[in-house]
Amino acid sequence: MAATAGDVNRPISPGSLPAPTYEPIVPGERSTPGRLGWWRRVRRTRASAIVGFCALGLILFLAVAGPWISRYDPIKPDPFNITASPSGAHWMGTDQYGRDVFARVVDAARLDLMVAVAITAIALTIGAVVGGLTGYFGGIVDDVVMRVVDILLSFPAFVLAIGITAMLGNETKFVVIAVAIAYTPYFVRLVRSEMLSLREAEYAAAAKCVGNRRLRILGYHLLPNALPPALVQATLTLGWGILDTAGLSFLGVGIRPPTAEWGVLVSDGTQYINSGQWWISVFPGIAILIAVLGFNLVGEWVRDAVARR
């Protein structure tokens, strides 16, 4: 394969140079970026992202390990111990029914995280499917769907969620559905616009030439490439989902007491803040803050990571 430069006949010759011996080309023309450098990547991560990951780690740890840390029942009232201030026995004090606030905050973490994940999963899935199909195929269905999306987007998500829960009723699953519907249009629009540009991509044409059916081109070749922006949105939606769920509960149209949910907890404590029992509301409030902040910072990091690729 690798011939030497014995090309005396060519008009372009190395002149009178002694024909140098050339070494064969190595098969791999260029070396690949190493797979290592995992630690370097962590090191160069921005401080804000690290704070975000820590915040989420804390919440996640509480949600998973909570029951083993706290020996109190989050639901059962304890009439002998109402509105006890934070102490060694009750780290975050007790509420007006004598329930341990820490136990309730931790118990609520699990519910809130699950609700947020469910909301995001539903919105992302519907968004990807509907956005992918309409973006790829276009046509009348696309026009109709986009008008509906426009209408939904003209309401603030939270207001829309209030309206839907008011219609459906305030069970946890309805809250999930309501907030998910409120966020779906964002995902539809995001995935659709990605798909609109990707369907013109040359590798889509190549996939067609190779013999792929259209649905396979859409699902296998294009959708995975259309998703990264939606995944960024999803991370942020996890935070907003928590905020909105808590907000609905706080307003009394979401999850109802006595279920331990951060919004419910904050709402429970509001009437006691003026009388000095701040801990009932403030601790769940801090939990919401940490969770939403965490998702936002991590979301930003994901966005940058996606942009860098």
Partner: protein, 337 residues
């Protein structure tokens, strides 16, 4: 200034580096480049993508884009070092001394201004002409760069021009500045073959007329053969060979140049079926010991732990990047037998 004609541009040991993602380590993209552009000459700067040819040219106008920066060497433009100049001084150099046209002329033009106004402004600012004089001069310039119907073109906006027209306009605009050096960075990328030929013909004509120097960056050795007087070949950030065009094509010395010329496809000859495919590894360098040239792998040099390569004169105006093994051994000019 001495009476001896000095080079218009002389670049000494220029090194430009870009930081990696962490921003801690700098990777050089231009390594120890020394190069001159003489007065009234067309110098071709040839190399494949990523060879550092554009970065070298940008450094002449001190246009190295941050976070990249010049980490060593000097760039003398008509005797003045542009490395470390402040913006006010640079404004004096840009346009007056050296001007540049780019690959995509349409993005270099202001989309909100008519072509006539844009060229007119150049005349007002650089030549101090009045408004109506500038307009007349603009039309003359458009006609000069081969635009039929200059009035119509002067009244149009950049997006209304074809790629070839836009590049003509760019050339006209830069020439209007009256620069001593015109840098053309792959000026025909994306243009059709016939338009490309016209653009290069135009550059040659304008050069001959105004006597300016041209630094033509290209990857096409055909263009070099037809357009340039001298040529510098770059590979992986280094200039590996500089020679007059005829000399380079007749007697290439560096393995990389030989490899490039060996990879040429000739439009003017039938394809040579018996042609031996010459494959030289991109990692090959030239080693000189006394009068003997040897192409060796980079690795073997790294193993020997020998110093950096240097440009050695091997013929009239012909230098080549070599690792000199026997210090002090004179290289016979031309190395001809």
């Amino acid at each position: 200034m001495t009476s001896r004609p000095s080079a218009l541009i002389s670049i000494h040991n220029l090194t430009i580096a870009f930081p990696d993602e962490t921003g801690e380590r700098f990777t050089p993209v231009v390594k120890d480049v020394s190069l001159t552009v003489g007065r009234h000459e067309i110098l071709g700067l040839v190399g494949e993508s990523g060879s550092g040819k554009t970065q070298t040219a940008l450094a002449i106008l001190a246009l190295t884009r941050p976070p990249g920066r010049v980490v060593g060497g000097s760039v003398l433009v008509d005797g003045e070092d542009v490395v470390g100049m402040d913006e006010a001084e640079l404004r004096r150099v840009r346009g007056k001394k050296a001007a540049m046209i780019f690959q995509s002329p349409r993005t270099s033009l202001n989309p909100l201004m008519t072509i006539g106004d844009q060229i007119g402004r150049v005349y007002q600012r650089h030549r101090g002409l009045g408004k109506s004089a500038a307009r007349t001069a603009s039309l003359a310039m458009l006609r000069r760069v081969g635009i039929a119907g200059p009035e119509r073109v002067a009244a149009s906006y950049p997006h209304q021009l074809s790629g070839g027209m836009a590049q003509r306009v760019m050339i006209g605009m830069m020439v209007a500045c009256g620069p001593e050096l015109l840098i053309a960075d792959e000026p025909t990328t994306g243009l059709d073959v016939t338009i490309q030929a016209q653009i290069f013909d135009l550059i040659q004509e304008v050069q001959a007329e105004t006597g300016m120097s041209v630094l033509l960056i290209t990857h096409d050795l055909g263009v070099v053969a037809e357009t340039c007087h001298r040529v510098a070949v770059m590979q992986a950030g280094r200039v590996v060979e500089i020679a007059p065009v005829a000399e380079l094509f007749a007697r290439p010395r560096h393995p990389y140049t030989i490899r490039l010329l060996g990879a040429l496809l000739r439009p003017d000859q039938p394809f040579d079926l018996t042609r031996e495919t010459m494959q030289v590894s991109p990692e090959t360098v030239l080693e000189i010991e006394g009068r003997h040239y040897r192409a060796v792998s980079v690795d073997s040099w790294a193993a020997k732990g020998v110093s950096t390569p240097e440009l050695v004169e091997v013929g009239p105006e012909h230098v080549v990047l070599c690792h000199v093994t026997e210090v002090g051994a004179p290289i016979v000019a031309g190395a001809s037998t």
